[in-house]
């Protein structure tokens, strides 16, 4: 795993052999080893029930690991209560205190730390300036919009300069446009303040937009930890390839493997050259993964280079503004998607027979689904 190699740098947080079970029967988190470096923006990405939120809650101190230890700046914190951990947290539903004004909400972490009044006031004002909400300081949370409330929650989690800020799907309740705007704002805050952020989401595009590194969770296990581009380009298994970005899957059997590439016989006939990423040996079944934007459509009769060419039938085309998506039937897969560039192949008709082609390095042979 690439994540494990990078982790040589000093870690601010270290999960060591963490296991967590709620019912004593099955593990929600299985043997988690994860390092979080100072100043990085790391996202825990995964479907619901994958253990990502539980991991975050264990770091915040609201859940106790069943086994293993968590280190914060080399101090074990498994048995440290949440209020002593010095970790800021932003909740999905903001959790702003409804009976306090915005100003009092932001001042709360300072007042429980007994910061002197003048300094607290200055820091609260600076925090509100940072989120551009000075004018609303005397309002109550109930009088603000969702986006404004989320900004206040951010300011409140940052105002006491915590070692880490945890965010638990903080943008889940916002509409798309506001969510994208907030993603950029959070990213900017992270860059200007140099804080360490642990972010939990199930939205892969959000994770790709914001993160320095992404840990993909599934079934209580970290499938892959990597930079967003590496995760997208070099997924280590079918789950990651499928969960991060759009993906076409073809099933087949490995015939030969040599020099990192393998020849795969498709179930529907025909062979494909693919990069051997996660295949056992020749004779094993495999899932081939190709990104829609790495595929070209060739009209019947035209010639092509390279070894991979498969016959296809056009099912439909979907116009999406900045690009058009062609849905094809390829080797038994009826939802084989190809991303067309603007102006390309506008003449595709339903039922038309064409061919698709892609380079061997863009086709990954992964574990069978």
């Amino acid at each position: 795993m690439e994540g494990a190699m990078i982790a040589a740098a000093p870690a601010l947080v270290r999960f060591s052999g963490i296991q967590k079970t709620y019912d004593g029967e099955h593990l929600v988190v299985k043997n988690l080893d994860l390092d979080i470096r100072k100043g990085e923006f790391i996202t825990l990405l995964g479907p619901s029930g994958s253990g990502k939120t539980t991991t975050l809650m264990m770091l915040a101190g609201f859940e106790v690991p069943t086994h293993g230890e968590i280190y914060l700046a080399d101090r074990p914190i498994k048995n440290m209560p949440p209020h002593k951990r010095d970790i800021g947290m932003v909740f999905q539903n903001y959790a702003l205190f409804p009976h306090l004004t915005i100003e009092e909400n932001v001042a709360f972490p300072l007042s429980v730390r007994k910061v002197n009044k003048a300094e607290a006031q200055e820091r609260v004002r600076a925090a509100l300036r940072m989120i551009k909400m000075e004018a609303l300081a005397q309002r109550r949370p109930g009088q603000l919009s969702g986006g404004q409330q989320q900004r206040v929650a951010l300011a409140r989690a940052l105002v006491f300069n915590p070692q880490i800020v945890l965010m638990d799907e903080p943008l889940g309740a916002l509409d798309k446009r506001l969510r994208e705007q907030m993603q950029l704002e959070i990213k900017q805050l992270h860059e200007t303040m140099g804080i360490t952020v642990v972010y939990v989401t199930h939205d892969q595009s959000e994770a790709l937009t914001m993160s320095d590194r992404i840990a993909v969770f599934n079934d209580g296990i970290v499938q892959q930890i990597d930079r967003p581009d590496a995760l997208y380009e070099h997924p280590v298994n079918s789950f990651v390839a499928h969960f991060v970005g759009e993906n076409n899957v073809l099933a087949g059997t490995v015939e030969t493997i040599e020099q990192g590439y393998c020849r795969v016989a498709l179930a529907s006939g025909g062979t494909i050259m693919a990069r051997a990423v996660n295949v056992a040996s020749s004779g094993a079944t495999t899932s081939l993964s190709v990104r829609p934007e790495r595929i070209s459509i060739i009209m019947d009769g035209a010639t092509s280079e390279g070894p991979n060419r498969l016959p296809a039938t056009v099912q439909s085309t979907i116009y999406l503004g900045d690009h058009t998506l062609a849905v094809l039937e390829v080797a038994g897969n009826e939802e084989f998607m190809v991303k067309l560039q603007p102006g390309e192949h506008h003449s595709l008709r339903q039922g038309e027979n064409v061919s698709v082609t892609f380079r061997p390095e863009d086709c990954l042979a992964l574990d069978p689904v």
Binding site: R85, F97, H99, F108, F160
Partner: protein
């Protein structure tokens, strides 16, 4: 295009928008009214009507006016400085004879007896000894001979004071006040001045019971609001269980438990903690125990519903922001339960103000609350005027509290304290 649209919408009528809205809403309002009408009629008949009746009884003064009409009419001009003149005596003699014949004299006698102790004897002896209407001009002398009380100014002042049609007599009596012979408001004689004490006692008991309920109910409500649904539902049944048992049964159960040879005393003696039985009942302690037990659910339920609305995320947020559990509780949780505390306290306090059965059964003589005296005057002595006056004062006190509570809650809403 927009312009065309606007004109076409506005053109048909010159009726202002507000009136058109009103017209459009009218059908809905009528429907809503129809839905609440049965309840409204029911309340009018069973609640507002009787209350209005009670308030009227507190000031109504009809007895003397009805039984001694001529006397009342003559005394209207009396200045009260000297004895009234011959005309009044003659009218009184006529009235007494007529009342004796009609058998209504006792009604007036009872009312006048409230004002002057022994007035009943004066009237009945006069009626007994007055065989026939006195000769014109001799009424004063005749009556004075039959009972020397007719030569006293206070006797006549009592009749004038009770001649109605409305009187402050009962309300003053409920406040330990009375009018002297000159009509000035003075303190009532000490043997009649008990109601202020009773009022103070009623408020002290109600307040103490409210505080006890809050102290005992708050942790229970918290537990109910934070436990998983299954277990909290089970516990909720235990909270509601008392509602399925009659108040009388519950109060009697406390007698069984707390009496000298009751379960509690016997257990303590068996364990060697005490030698002689403790006095746990027929005193203030018994009243507090039984009333707190009976009223506890009324505190727990409003508290529970306000706590249920508080998301656990608030306490987590407070902890993540560095607040130790106690600080988080005091500064984040407790303020959000204030509406529930206010509602529960008000409910328990107002219910406690009107308590009758429980203190009557488990309290001593010095623990009886206002309702005991109201019941006493309505069922035992049939002094409706005083019973109504006491009830009216209790009602006023309750209303004042209600208004205070309304102000409190409204203040919270204006500042957004109740909103999430």
């Amino acid at each position: 295009m927009t312009e065309a649209f606007l004109t076409s919408a506005d053109a048909p009528t010159d009726v202002p928008l507000k009136r058109r809205l009103k017209r459009a809403e009218r059908a809905r309002q009528v429907k809503a009214l129809a839905l609440v009408l049965p309840l409204l009629a029911f309340l009018l008949f069973t609640f507002l009507g009787p209350i209005a009746g009670m308030l009227w009884h507190a000031v109504d003064d009809w007895e003397v006016r009805k039984v001694l009409p001529h006397t009342v009419a003559t005394l209207a001009d009396w200045d009260g400085r000297d004895l009234p003149d011959e005309k009044a005596y003659a009218a009184l003699a006529d009235d007494i004879l007529a009342a004796r014949a009609a058998g209504t004299l006792a009604i007036a006698a009872k009312r006048l007896n409230y004002a002057v102790n022994g007035f009943r004897t004066i009237l009945t002896s006069t009626a007994r000894n007055l065989k026939a209407p006195p000769e014109p001009g001799t009424a004063k002398e005749t009556l004075g001979k039959i009972n020397p009380a007719w030569r006293e100014r206070t006797t006549w002042a009592a009749i004038k004071g009770a001649s109605g049609p409305v009187t402050g007599f009962y309300l003053l009596a409920a406040l330990d006040l009375t009018r002297n012979v000159d009509g000035a408001i003075v303190a009532a004689p000490p043997d009649q001045a008990i109601y202020r004490d009773v009022f103070v006692r009623t408020f002290i008991i109600s307040f103490s019971v409210t505080v006890l309920c809050l102290i005992l109910g708050f942790p229970v409500a918290y537990l109910l609001a934070t436990l998983p649904a299954g277990r909290s539902n089970l516990l909720m049944i235990f909270v509601l269980l008392p509602f399925w048992t009659s108040l009388l049964v519950r109060t009697c159960a406390w007698i069984v438990l707390l009496q000298s040879n009751g379960v509690v005393n016997d257990s303590l003696r068996f364990l060697g903690i005490i030698d002689a039985p403790m006095r746990l009942i027929y005193n203030r302690f018994g009243v507090y125990v039984a009333m707190t037990h009976v009223l506890l659910p009324f505190m727990i339920l409003p508290l529970y519903s306000s706590m249920k609305a508080i998301s656990p995320a608030y306490m987590r947020a407070a902890a993540s922001l560095g607040a130790p559990p106690l600080t988080a509780f005091l500064r984040i949780y407790l303020p959000q339960t204030l509406p529930g505390i206010a509602a529960g306290s008000l409910l328990v306090f107002i219910l406690a103000l009107g308590y009758y059965i429980t203190p009557a059964l488990v309290g001593g003589g010095a623990d009886q609350m206002m309702s005991y005296f109201i019941a006493l005057y309505t069922t035992e002595t049939a002094n409706w005027g005083l019973a109504s006056a006491l009830g009216a004062l209790l009602l006023v006190a309750t209303l004042l509290l209600g208004v205070l509570y309304g102000r409190l809650v409204q203040g919270q809403q204006v500042t957004g304290g109740m909103k999430n």
